[in-house]
């Protein structure tokens, strides 16, 4: 175990993250990069961009509370130290996505009310399920919920957003790139550390599987809200048609997202996340539980 955990040391983190892929960045992107004017000037796109960014802040605030709360529940020093780096990663994500809200014109005094206004209720429920385990200092359930379920979801969501923003919004694409690099490390730790703990505590499996089922339910409900009630893709297409320029393509998971209806995009994301859950949960000895349909 100690050999694997040495790969997650703070020394490695310093060399790969602040002194590696974040070097020279400013709030996660290249200095001087700005949001496209379209996202500020077009009222509909402006509101939907703020709404989408608020969900990222809500998710990252949950991850910050969970990773910091798990430090005191960690059974060994090396896990505590890895979670210390994850805590700072998550705080950085909170900061860069909050900064994006400011860049989009949200006033500092209006930050909390904006978050309260746009936060998806299902995403808040998703976070509550996880934070209940963290509050109980349940390390195994907490790490599965945080580093497999939450981070697994975030990883795919960020990748999809990256595909949609590359080429049209370099600033946000750069921010997402750094965040994805962090999430990859977090998911890796979850899989490696928890596998051994599940083996020694098989009695925890049913409770953790129930948690995964419940979190998956709220996650899928969040996806449904995010895609089916989102007028932004149609507005982008309308503007592209009007401009008469070349259509922007966003390829991800073998499909072109720019050609798809919102329901189909939702299905691609949900399938990708759930497939990853099954693989990762299987690797740590847990069986994926299908959530109830809404």
């Amino acid at each position: 175990m100690s050999d694997f955990l040495s790969a997650y040391s703070i020394q490695n983190w310093l060399e790969s993250c602040p002194q590696g892929y974040l070097e020279g960045t400013e709030f996660g992107h290249q200095p001087g990069e700005k949001e496209p004017e379209l996202l500020i000037d077009n009222d509909l796109l402006h509101v939907e961009t703020i709404r989408a960014t608020v969900q990222l802040v809500v998710g990252e605030r949950c991850a910050l509370s969970a990773s910091s709360g798990l430090i005191n529940a960690a059974p060994d020093e090396a896990s505590k130290r890895f979670l210390a780096t994850q805590t700072l990663d998550e705080a950085r994500h909170v900061e860069v996505f909050t900064q994006r809200l400011y860049d989009l014109g949200v006033k500092k005094d209006d930050l909390e009310s904006t978050i309260a206004q746009y936060a998806n209720k299902n995403l808040v429920k998703f976070a509550e399920v996880l934070l209940e385990k963290v509050d109980k200092k349940d390390f195994i359930a907490g790490v599965v919920g945080q580093n497999i379920v939450l981070e697994g979801m975030a990883f795919s969501v960020f990748e999809m957003m990256l595909a949609m923003n590359e080429g049209v919004n370099p600033k946000f694409a750069h921010t997402l790139n750094g965040t994805i690099a962090d999430e990859r490390r977090h998911v890796g730790f979850g899989e490696n550390r928890i596998g051994s703990l599940i083996k020694t505590h098989p009695e925890k499996k049913p409770e953790i599987e129930r948690m995964q089922k419940e979190m998956s339910y709220w996650m899928l409900a969040t996806f449904t809200d995010a895609f089916r009630n989102n007028p932004a893709p149609d507005e982008f297409k309308r503007l592209e048609r009007e401009a008469g320029g070349e259509q922007h393509h966003a390829r991800w998971q073998g499909v072109d997202l720019s050609d798809m209806q919102p329901e189909a995009m939702e299905a691609v994301l949900a399938d990708t996340v759930l497939k990853e859950f099954k693989i990762r949960l299987g690797r740590i000895g847990l069986e994926y539980q299908t959530p109830a349909r809404r």
């Binding site: 974040l22 020093e77 210390a84």
Partner: protein
């Protein structure tokens, strides 16, 4: 632009940010491996010197573990985002301190550093850790910040500063890196409590009680640690006075 020229709200937004931490640590951690320059060579030590150093480093590890657990626990009930983000940078700092100290123990030939820390930890530092975590668990923001970012950090600052003067070159570099972080942590505690005391002076009496309760644990821990590295009596007294004065100078307690 000098951050001290900023308006108070902007100043806090700036100095409590990841970006600020990022710029600060880049300056002094860049090029270091496990807290010291890779080319710094080990100097010969007698068995007694080595054994004393191991004992003192084990006690530092307890202090850093307490700081790691305390800072991470504080995030859960920090009153605003800036405080949460700052404490996250402190969590990573404390995790780094623990890591470099454990690594130093391995360099000194300790095969199982965590077991060695348990074996050699002094009673007073363990009691301090327990009391600090009780304050954090009770979600008493002012008392916990005072115990963590003023008392514990001031103690570590005084002890590490003194030890660095006489330590072997590798241990000195490790301690000097830690001291630079501690300055930032004390600054946060002083600023956070100073602003709260300005609008709620009655908090001062409560902090005074926390200090009276913790002072004897701090001074006992300091005495035990300094004895471990054969610090002369007059120097031990001076470090104890430095700790008391540094807390008093902040003007947070009656």
């Amino acid at each position: 632009m000098d951050v001290h020229d900023l308006e108070p709200e902007q100043f806090l937004e700036e100095v409590h940010s990841f970006e600020f931490w990022f710029q600060a640590v880049e300056g002094y951690l860049s090029g270091l491996t496990w807290g010291h320059k890779p080319e710094t060579a080990e100097v010969p030590q007698t068995d007694l010197e080595r054994d004393r150093l191991i004992t003192v480093l084990c006690n530092y590890c307890v202090g850093e573990t307490a700081a790691l657990e305390g800072a991470s626990g504080l995030i859960g009930f920090a009153p605003n985002r800036q405080a949460k983000v700052f404490l996250s940078t402190q969590v990573a700092d404390e995790g780094r301190h623990l890591e470099v100290l454990l690594h130093r123990l391995r360099d000194l030939g300790v095969a199982q550093p965590e077991a060695e820390v348990e074996r050699r930890a002094s009673r007073s530092i363990l009691l301090f850790r327990q009391r600090l975590l009780e304050l954090v668990a009770s979600r008493d923001w002012e008392a916990a910040i005072f115990a963590q970012n003023v008392i514990l950090e001031a103690l570590e600052f005084a002890v590490f500063h003194s030890h660095a003067q006489t330590a072997d070159p590798i241990t000195r570099e490790v301690l000097q890196g830690i001291i630079k972080d501690e300055r930032r942590h004390i600054g946060f505690g002083e600023n956070e409590l100073g602003r709260r005391l300005a609008v709620a002076p009655h908090i001062r009496a409560r902090l005074g009680k926390v200090k009276s309760e913790l002072d004897h644990l701090v001074l006992d821990a300091l005495e035990e640690t300094m004895l471990s590295i054969a610090t002369p009596q007059d120097e031990r007294t001076r470090i104890g006075r430095t700790y008391l004065e540094s807390v008093e100078r902040l003007g947070l307690v009656p």
